[in-house]
């Protein structure tokens, strides 16, 4: 069989490459992974991710060189089903969950996975963010949210983790094309202020600070406080805030921040600062705008491509670097290019609406992807 191998260098965007390789069935080779660094080769969290991928698939072949600086991945078929995975604490669960979300609709059996590790940290999107903004995006492509759930049973802050989430997702034969070009106006802002192993007052302090900024825009703001105790609170202290702005058309723009992990050189975070900072990040996100927020751009693009041979169209804000790279990878793996063009403002209105930065329209034709793992009777 003529399966041409795609070769890349470096460990950046490793997840994208592995995900797309799995979905497209192409073999991928990654070389020069941290080859010039003091600690060369794959890190523990990447190894953990590869292990998760191995659990999720059937018949995949993974060859890692002795030094760990090069990796060959020959994908198998996605099986899904019930899984458990101990995520490495170097990265939060979000790192793993993002990839899982991309693969979940194409498994043989509906996926139900239990992940343990760090639920919230400063690098990756937290599980709260995924729950609040990624799940609605997924729902749009699946059609319904039946059997789609992300449950946070335990919270674990960086660096030691101890959190636990359960993610379940139904599998589909095909995805629906998506036309989503009008995000509508923001009707409400919700959020979760969480704290573990710190004083319960922290959450209230965060909420007050956040409201002081956001109330200037919208009255309908409610931020849930989530202070966990005992076994549910993980191993390290921490607190944070995830905010989501919901629009009339059902798009969710999300922003979040978490406190510095225990023992970080930056010292402890002040809750008020964190609240204000998060509010500003949210405003920035709103400024960027679009029908999906910046963390979900790549997921949306992926599912648009994996749809039927129909045109999908979505409005987005400025593309993140990650998304741009993802679009390039999509072209490599699936031979599909996106039409990306700025949305033209309507000329008939002489007074422009102040809706933030430039909005882009992403259009693509699906490749007619169908789930090859799922059995028919």
């Amino acid at each position: 069989m003529a399966t041409n191998t795609l070769t890349y260098e470096g460990c950046n965007y490793l997840r994208q490459r592995l995900i797309l390789a799995t979905l497209s069935g192409k073999t991928v080779r990654v070389r020069k992974i941290r080859s010039k660094e003091d600690d060369p080769g794959l890190k523990d969290f990447e190894a953990s991710f590869i292990r998760l991928l191995d659990k999720l698939t059937n018949g995949s072949k993974i060859v890692i060189s002795e030094t760990g600086t090069s990796l060959l991945y020959q994908p198998g078929l996605l099986i899904g089903g019930k899984l458990e995975h101990e995520c490495n604490t170097q990265r939060s669960i979000g790192y793993y969950l993002e990839a899982l979300v991309c693969l979940a609709p194409f498994t043989k059996k509906p996926i139900k996975v239990l992940l343990r590790g760090v639920t919230n940290d400063q690098i990756d999107p937290s599980v709260d963010l995924i729950k609040l903004s990624t799940v609605p995006v997924l729902k749009r492509f699946l059609g319904t949210d039946e059997g789609l759930e992300l449950k946070i049973t335990r919270r674990g802050a960086a660096p030691d983790g101890g959190g636990e989430v359960i993610f379940s997702c139904p599998c589909r034969q095909k995805l629906r094309p998506l036309q989503f070009t009008d995000p509508g106006k923001i009707k409400r802002i919700r959020g979760v202020a969480w704290a573990v192993r710190v004083s319960p007052v922290t959450t209230n302090r965060i909420v007050d600070a956040t409201r002081s900024i956001l109330n200037q825009f919208l009255p309908d703001i409610y931020i849930y406080t989530d202070h966990l105790k005992g076994s549910q609170s993980g191993k390290s202290p921490g607190f944070g805030l995830t905010l989501v702005a919901e629009t009339l058309q059902g798009s969710f723009l999300c922003a979040e921040a978490a406190s510095n992990p225990k023992g970080s050189p930056k010292g402890p975070t002040i809750p008020e600062d964190l609240g204000k900072e998060t509010a500003k990040i949210l405003l920035e996100e709103i400024y960027r705008g679009g029908c999906v927020d910046s963390t979900n751009q790549s997921l949306t693009a992926l599912f648009m491509v994996l749809g039927q041979q129909d045109v999908s169209k979505v409005q987005m804000g400025t593309l993140s670097q990650y998304t741009i790279q993802f679009l390039r990878h999509i072209r490599d793996f699936l031979q599909v290019m996106f039409k990306v063009e700025p949305e033209l403002k309507k000329d008939d209105d002489d007074d422009d609406l102040q809706i933030g930065g430039e909005k882009l329209l992403l259009t693509c034709v699906g490749v007619g992807y169908s789930n090859v793992s799922k059995a028919i009777m």
């Binding site: 497209s24 198998g76 993002e98 690098i123 923001i186 825009f217 990040i281 933030g356 028919i376």
Partner: protein, 1331 residues
């Protein structure tokens, strides 16, 4: 009416006159009235249902429910799952396959059809023939050889099949085989054609045969399928009218989309070419070839660089794809019904239709008509032919070859150069003049602009060979230009840059076009261009090393430039504008009278401007040293600057003469292209700072315009500033080309690196370049190993505490301002306009909108004067009209909402509508896009004629090519090029003679592929266990699992045992459908392990002989076991000795003689054998004789080896031992209690325990014994006699006694009678007394 009135009057008069005659009055009361009433009594009119409600009620509930069920079933059957309509606007030609057994007249029919369509006779038909069949229908006719491979391939691609049947012979096996193949791969339209009908002498027999064949055909295809009769031959051809009728049937045929074909792209190849480097092919005849295949894309969009499968050859990846102009286009939609001669095109490149003309990427066929062939084409074709021939014939090194071939092209092609290759013109005239070079280039551009469509192919040509042009330019340089001619230099570098642009992406050209449009002829626009150019410069600063290199090629000036790298952008810009202004004045004063051909003057002026700019440069360096920022980034700024200033001077000059304007424009454009690109890169790298840059640019633009306005001594300039600003703003909107930002970078990087390598050898200013390279490397390295994170981190958050910043997003919230179409207030107003007049029922007020409107109008008219007022009024009328329409529309919508869609079909209808909308969107989205760009987004859409390059094809494909075997390029979806286990549902075909054996090789046709594999048959038990079967069941579906290419679920497949030659019987062995794919599988076969008890303690037993080690036992701990007699048990634990023995418990005590079973399942491995059928690669004579793996049986048969049989397996005569039953022994205790008769009679059993002893007597004793014997005999006799006499005596006595008894009885009887008589009389007497 007017007439009637007097008439009535007249009648009344008449009545008056005849008053005396009384009118009859019916009786209203009284007996006569009653009588009448009774006679026709009024009966209430009732409907049948009212009269007899019972008859209409549900009387038979079951029957009614069945009726309802049936009607619903019929209704539901009519509905199909709605599909999005993805049929292309201009579909590819319809593939008509002509199929049948040999000698039925396929070729003749094909020839007749071609003759009917093209009015031309084809003698030798090979490969597909495309003809124009009508105004909007083309056909690709294809003959099918009598080979099962070909039949399978054709069934996969044909839209319509003409199934030829020899009526004089009847149906043949091939026909049914083909129909079965079709059923598996999606049923195309099938039309039967009966031939050889003239063979029937008897008319009645013919009629009967026709009918019989027709009915058989109907059962195979569908009831009422069209069967066509071709009655006889005239001059070795079918009758003209009949063929014509057949063609009419073909032309009205409608087609159903087939699942596989609407999801997979494919090409029926109608022309192939070997494009391998002849040198490599010469060196190694067996080397893998690069080929190009031509054909129409069918099915769905085919993407470049995707995987394809060529049935009969193998899997490949598309190396490259191009669109070609349609060789057989559908005639334009004109009013006329019939086609004219020119439009009757036939395209059959493999058949060698006369007068073929080759081009690089197209083939033209001369039909000989005077209309069809014009001279221009010939002219174009001529040089291309030369090109090809030079390329083919010479055996020189490659670069030489390219050079020579190009030279010939240019020398021969005055007309071509006229139309324009960009690179060639400068090469020819560069010796004379730099200006001219550019002008020519521009001229072509303008031309392109004017008639964009017509020049398309040529443009492409330019794009295709940028390297060649580059080479060309270089050679010019070598020819000995004086290096001081900076003007020329700049021009030259520009042209190369331009080439780069085109190389990087085709899109550049588009950009240029758009910019041109905006420029057009206005002189003023040039200024604006300049400003944009500056932007270009700025943004280029960053990372375009390559450009720097190019500019710097062998010019001493540039070396200087390398030194000044550090420039802060602001100062730079200001300076530049200054410069430019100075230049303008200079040029205006001195160069106005310059002719474009005047070499020296130009040079002088350029020199001047050069000098100036150099001075400036120095200033910059001083400046820039101070600014420490962005040192490494601003690479080529100064180089650019120089060239820009030069150009500027040139432009100003050119502005005087309109002819020159166009010239300079082109340069600017090319620059812009670069600039844009660079922009993109910049934005790519630091997205965040983007806004800042924009701002600064704004400022610059303003400054610029201001300074220019201040100049003011030329009137047009003041206007220009405004225009420039405006267009600048406009540009800024569409400034970022996202396409290049995202997709265009990689190519650019590669290019840069290459350039770097080149320069290392040549340049003196090497040191800095290297350093930067190093830097870049480290940068790259950092980026490739950066943290992989999807979050969008922002370096600089906007200051949201500021009111102005907050204002930026205030309308994102529901509290903000709304769009007019959505704003509640605005909509309310709109509604008012529509439903303006209404009556408030409570108050009784009537609100009128008309008044208000009129008032408004009046106001308007008074305000604006009469003329305007009139215009307004008409407008108002229109709006009123529109309003009415809008109102009606709205009402209708409301009505529809209420009354339509309330049916049970609501869901279905809305689904259908959704699909409709999607289909419209699919069509509209890329509709207005240029095809070159469009194919990037959606792939090559069906209906396009394309050229596909495929590399590394086995050389046999080329050497053994036979056009009569169809070549199909089947596109594969993403996962389909991988292999895995396929689980399928399969059924042996009932017409196939043998049953199929597990693990025997079968040739499977699945998807596009044909391959040999080793299937395992299995059946699914009720607990979903797949149990292995040794053979396929006779009339039952079973599962089969084999190793093969992953193919989507639901795809049909068929299996044949062999594809070589003709076998007796029905060749299709089995058909089936794919259910599931996996990389592992779970087929099991039954395994029974046996053991024997070693020791038995009550219910526990130690079993041995079942396992070989304790480990094995541990694996089976807790497993269920069973004895032959059915006593169930469980494996408990291994014991130490003997090895493999274990303790087990049973539900009852087992016997030592019992055998213990363990029933278990053993997984079976499916051999990973996948062998594609490579029938296309075989030599011509063996094409139909592909043989893959053989069965062991076949091999034995071929080699005459008999099976070595296991002696144990042989049958022997059965010898049965006689069965001896053991006697029943009854215990003593029991015997005692038995009744006597049931007791075993032991005495009897002991009857003759004494054995007789032979006695030998003495003679005396013998005498005695004799005497005794005699006496005994006598005695016996005496006794006998006595006994007999006694018996006689007794009988006599009995007789006597009998008579005595009789008498005695009679006597007694008599006495009794008398006594009774007496008693009776006594009684009588007594009674008498009583009375």
């Amino acid at each position: 009416m007017i007439d009637n009135k007097p008439c009535n009057h007249h009648i009344r008069k008449m009545e008056d006159q005849t008053h005396s005659v009384k009118k009859h009055r019916q009786p209203r009361a009284g007996p006569s009235a009653d009588k009448k009433k009774a006679k026709n009594k009024h009966v209430q009119e009732l409907t049948a249902q009212q009269r007899n409600p019972k008859a209409f009620s549900v009387q038979h509930a079951v029957k009614t429910s069945r009726l309802v069920q049936r009607s619903q079933d019929i209704k539901t059957k009519k509905t199909h799952i709605p599909l999005v309509d993805r049929t292309p606007i201009e579909p590819p030609p319809i593939v008509v396959g002509i199929v049948g057994p040999p000698k039925v007249g396929k070729t003749t029919l094909l020839q007749c059809l071609v003759k009917n369509y093209a009015k031309q006779r084809l003698t030798n038909v090979e490969g597909p023939v495309t003809v124009v069949a009508g105004k909007n229908r083309r056909l690709t006719l294809l003959e099918c050889k009598n080979d099962i491979n070909t039949m399978i391939d054709i069934a996969k691609v044909a839209d319509l099949v003409l199934l030829l049947v020899d009526a004089s012979f009847g149906f043949e096996m091939e026909t049914f085989e083909f129909l079965n193949i079709c059923q598996v791969h999606g049923f195309p339209r099938i039309m039967g054609v009966l031939t050889h009908l003239d063979a029937f002498k008897d008319n009645k027999r013919m009629r009967k045969t026709k009918k019989r064949l027709k009915h058989r055909f109907w059962t195979e295809v569908y009831q009422g399928a069209k069967l066509f009769y071709l009655s006889g031959m005239v001059n070795e051809e079918y009758q003209k009218t009949e063929v014509h009728n057949l063609c009419r049937f073909i032309s009205v045929m409608k087609f159903r989309p087939l699942q596989w074909r609407i999801t997979h792209p494919y090409i029926l190849v109608d022309r192939t070419e070997d494009i391998t480097d002849p040198e490599t092919a010469r060196r190694n005849r067996k080397c893998d070839r690069n080929i190009s295949l031509y054909g129409y894309v069918r099915g769905t969009h085919l993407k470049n660089r995707s995987n394809v499968h060529i049935p009969g050859c193998g899997d490949f990846t598309i190396h490259d794809m191009q669109i070609l102009s349609d060789p057989c286009p559908t005639p334009d939609q004109e009013k006329r019904r019939s086609l004219n001669q020119r439009e009757r095109i036939i395209y059959a490149p493999m058949s060698g239709v006369g007068g073929i003309v080759y081009d690089k990427d197209a083939i033209y066929i001369d039909l000989g008509g005077s209309h069809s062939h014009n001279k221009r084409e010939e002219e174009e074709v001529q040089p291309a032919n030369d090109l090809v021939s030079t390329l083919m014939s010479t055996f020189n090194p490659l670069d030489e070859k390219i050079n020579t071939s190009h030279m010939t092209v240019f020398s021969n092609t005055a007309p071509i150069s006229d139309v324009g290759m960009l690179g060639d013109q400068p090469s020819q005239e560069s010796v004379q003049e730099g200006e001219r070079v550019r002008r020519k280039a521009v001229f072509t551009d303008v031309l392109d602009d004017v008639d964009d469509n017509s020049e398309e192919p040529k443009k492409k040509k330019v794009k295709v060979d940028p390297t060649e042009e580059l080479v060309f330019d270089d050679s010019d340089d070598d020819e000995g230009e004086d290096g001081n001619n900076a003007f020329l230099k700049s021009g030259f570098s520009l042209s190369t840059e331009r080439v780069n642009c085109t190389e990087q992406s085709n899109d550049d050209v588009e950009d240029d076009d758009t910019s041109e449009e905006s420029d057009d002829d206005d002189i003023e626009m040039e200024e604006m261009d300049l400003s944009s150019k500056k932007r270009g410069i700025q943004s280029v600063l960053g990372d375009n090393i390559s450009k720097e290199k190019e500019d710097g090629v062998d010019s001493d000036d540039e070396i200087v430039l390398f030194a000044n790298k550090k420039t802060s952008s602001d100062s730079f810009d200001q300076d530049e504008t200054f410069d430019n202004d100075a230049n303008i004045s200079d040029n205006d004063s001195s160069d106005d009278n310059d002719d474009e051909n005047d070499n020296e003057n130009d040079d002088e002026s350029d020199a001047e401007s050069d000098a100036e700019s150099y001075d400036d440069m120095d200033v910059h360096t001083v400046d820039s040293i101070k600014s420490p920022d962005e040192k490494s980034v601003k690479g080529s700024s100064d180089t650019k600057l120089i060239s820009k200033t030069r150009k500027y001077s040139h432009e100003t000059k050119a502005s005087v003469e309109s002819s020159k304007i166009t010239d300079s424009e082109s340069d600017i454009e090319s620059d812009e292209g670069l600039g844009d690109e660079a922009d993109d890169k910049e934005t790519d790298e630091n997205n965040e700072s983007d806004d800042d840059i924009k701002e600064t640019e704004d400022v610059e633009a303003e400054e610029e315009s201001e300074s220019e306005a201040e100049e003011g001594h030329l009137k047009w300039k003041s206007n220009l500033a405004e225009l420039a600003a405006e267009s600048f703003r406009k540009r800024q909107k569409e400034r970022i080309n996202y396409r290049k930002l995202i997709y265009g970078q990689d190519a650019g990087e590669e290019l840069e690196e290459e350039k770097n390598d080149d320069d290392d050898d040549e340049l003196g200013g090497l040191f800095k370049v290297l350093k930067r390279k190093q830097e870049k490397k480290t940068d790259e390295r950092l980026s490739i190993n950066k943290t992989d994170c999807s979050r969008f981190f922002i370096q600089t958050v906007q200051d949201w505490d500021l009111e102005e910043v907050r204002e930026l997003i205030k309308d994102c919230f529901v509290t903000g301002k709304w769009d007019k179409s959505e704003d509640a207030a605005a909509r309310l107003e709109q509604d008012d306009e529509l439903y303006g007049d209404f009556e408030d029922l409570e108050t009784g007020e009537v609100h009128k909108e008309d008044n208000r409107e009129i008032d408004d109008e009046e106001e308007d008219s008074t305000a604006e004067g009469e003329d305007d007022g009139e215009r307004k009024r008409t407008k108002a009328e229109i709006t009123a009209d529109e309003k009415r329409i809008a109102r009606k529309k709205k009402l209708k919508e409301v009505f529809d909402k209420q009354y339509d869609m309330k049916d049970d079909s609501e869901f279905y209808d809305s689904w259908k509508q959704e699909n409709e909308i999607q289909a419209q969107l699919n069509r509209a989205e890329f509709e207005n896009m240029d095809d070159d760009v469009r194919v990037n987004y959606e792939g090559f859409r069906p209906g396009m004629y394309v050229r596909v390059e495929v590399n590394n094809v086995p050389c046999e494909f080329v050497t053994n090519f036979d056009a009569s075997y169809p070549v199909i390029l089947g596109g594969l979806l993403n996962v389909e090029s991988n292999v895995g286990y396929l689980q399928t549902r399969v059924k042996k075909h009932r017409w196939h003679k043998k049953i199929l054996k597990t693990k025997n090789p079968l040739i499977v046709s699945l998807g596009w592929r044909r391959f040999q594999t080793l299937p395992l048959f299995a059946i699914q038990d009720h607990n979903f266990r797949n149990r292995l079967l040794k053979y396929t069941p006779e009339h039952l579906h079973c599962h089969s699992v084999f190793w093969g290419p992953l193919t989507p679920q639901g795809t049909g497949f068929l299996a044949v045992e062999s594809v070589s030659g003709v076998m007796p019987g029905f060749r299709v062995a089995a058909t089936g459908v794919v259910l599931e794919m996996d990389k592992k599988l779970d087929i099991v076969k039954k395994l029974k392990l046996t053991g024997t008890p070693q020791k038995i303690y009550k219910k526990t037993a130690f079993i041995q002989g079942m396992f070989n080690s304790a480990l094995e036992v541990t694996k089976f701990e807790g497993a269920k076991i069973r004895t032959v007699s059915g006593i169930r048990g469980q494996v408990k634990k291994a014991v130490r000795t003997p090895e493999g023995a274990f303790r087990a418990t049973f539900e009852d005590k087992i016997l030592l003689s019992d055998i213990v079973f363990l029933r278990t399942w053993y997984p079976v491995e499916v051999p990973q054998f996948y062998n594609p059928v490579t029938s296309l690669l075989l030599p011509q004579e063996q094409k139909t004789a592909w043989i893959g793996m053989k069965t062991v049986g076949q091999l034995r048969w071929e080699r005459g080896i008999t099976i070595t049989q296991n002696q144990d397996s042989l049958y022997k005569p059965v010898e049965r031992k006689v069965y001896h039953r053991k006697p029943v022994t009854i215990p003593q205790d029991l015997q005692k209690n038995l009744p006597f008769k049931d007791t075993p009679k032991i005495l009897q059993a002991k009857k003759n325990p004494i054995k007789r002893v032979a006695v030998i007597r003495e003679p005396k004793e013998v005498k005695v014994a004799k005497l005794m014997n005699m006496m005994k005999t006598l005695d016996d006799h005496k006794k006998k006699m006595e006994r007999a006499s006694m018996r006689e005596r007794v009988t006599n006595h009995k007789k006597k006694q009998g008579t005595i008894d009789k008498k005695k009885q009679q006597k007694q009887k008599e006495t009794k009678r008398q006594i009774y008589k007496a008693l009776g009389q006594l009684e009588k007497k007594k009674n008498k007394f009583k009375k």
